[in-house]
């Protein structure tokens, strides 16, 4: 559905893709008759009569949400953002992709998008209840990644952004895969991520190796890592 024009620009036929959701401001140009409208993920919507807790949760989740727009109509749209390299992920039936909202350029409208808590990815990550929530908050504060991540599932395609290009690492082999949280872009398939500290007394005295926080990836799938530790 998406097609790479060069390493930093993708084009997509909006009609064939059934609508495209993309980061606001990422449209470069289009041909044909395409209309753009603001788009929001359900969780972050202030509308719909949600009150109280749900609304609060929605607001909390807005940290994990970039402003997006929906493209409808007939035509071809070109997308690119801040000169960052793009990578297209085609979804196999029933697959899901967990991606930082800031690293998602566009996805076909047919994909279900939800904001999931980092802790609820299971795998004994943070545990449940209040302690789990606290641990998640601490994790977010330490890595600057926030407590939530966007999950896409269904059938379609998505485009990832990366500074310095992406490498794909297969998860599920005999050896565990560990990623620097700042270089982590997305995980495709059934991958659980768990943040661990590898801190020692050396870090406390400023003689650490600079790799104190590590994201352990377990399960089956692919992890996308960018060639940079720059935040988007």
């Amino acid at each position: 559905m998406f097609q790479k024009v060069n390493s930093k620009v993708v084009k997509v036929n909006v009609a064939a893709a059934g609508g495209v959701v993309a980061r606001t401001g990422a449209m470069l140009f289009y041909t044909g008759d395409v209309r753009f409208a603001p788009h929001q993920v359900p969780g972050a919507s202030p509308m719909g009569g949600m009150g109280g807790m749900a609304r609060m949760a929605g607001r909390m989740m807005q940290g994990e949400h970039e402003r997006t727009m929906m493209a409808h109509g007939n035509g071809e749209v070109h997308y690119g953002f801040a000169g960052l390299e793009v990578h297209i992920v085609e979804f196999a039936q029933g697959a899901s992709l967990k991606v930082e909202a800031s690293r998602l350029l566009a996805n076909t409208a047919g994909l279900q998008s939800s904001v999931v808590s980092v802790m609820s990815q299971g795998g004994g990550g943070g545990g449940g209840g209040l302690m789990g929530a606290l641990r998640g908050a601490a994790t977010g504060a330490l890595t600057g990644q926030g407590m939530f991540t966007t999950q896409l599932s269904g059938q379609g395609a998505a485009v990832l952004l990366a500074h310095g290009g992406l490498i794909e690492l297969q998860v599920g082999g005999p050896a565990p895969v560990v990623v620097d949280p700042q270089a982590f872009v997305a995980a495709y398939g059934n991958v659980q991520t768990e943040l661990k500290t590898a801190m020692s007394w050396r870090d406390a005295v400023g003689r650490g190796a600079g790799e104190a926080m590590q994201l352990h990836c377990i399960g089956q799938g692919i992890v996308y890592v960018q060639a940079s530790e720059e935040k988007l």
């Binding site: 500074h163 490498i167 050896a175 560990v178 990623v179 270089a183 190796a209 992890v223 890592v225």
Partner: protein, 207 residues
Amino acid sequence: MAQLLEKSKKVIEAQLAGTSIKALTGSMVAYEGNVQFKSAGFGGGSGIMAGLKQRATGEALSLMECAGNGRVFLAVNGQHVTVINLNNEQLKVESRQLLAMAGNLQTNVTFAGLRGASSGQGLFTTTVTGQGQVALLSAGGPLIHLEVSPQYPLVVDPDAFVCAKGNLQQSFITDVSWRTAVGQGSGEAFSLRWEGNGLVSIQPAER
């Protein structure tokens, strides 16, 4: 011996099999397998003297040792990477462009003459000697290798210089005139001149 490979244009893959490499502190983006990271001190060698030397010379090069079994992926800021093989040779390298080292290599900080007195590059340069592999970073695109032969000396901008290999003499050219003093200089007041036989590598960007 640990191997360094170019996994992509901007990522180095280091293969460890019970061996270790030295890499720029904090440059790991991912690893697979069982790998430990610990600080390996500074480029001037090891121990307290090295620490003092680093403070004194300003050649800031902080390394970590990655040891174990598996694959380590290294990248810095989306910069291009290049692996250079050293066969009992000496490589002069700008410390900020050094990403990783594998094999039997020693680093040292040597006095490079008065070249850096006012270019901000420091009076000292890092040298790597021995047998093994060195991974270098280059901003703005892949490294450009320029050959130097006795008939063709080479002059490079110190801000673009990355490394030099071979039997080379380095000298420092100043082109300071009254124009520089009144702010009308060409912006190329200081240059590095290389003579002899060897290879000089530069990056397509100035620091």
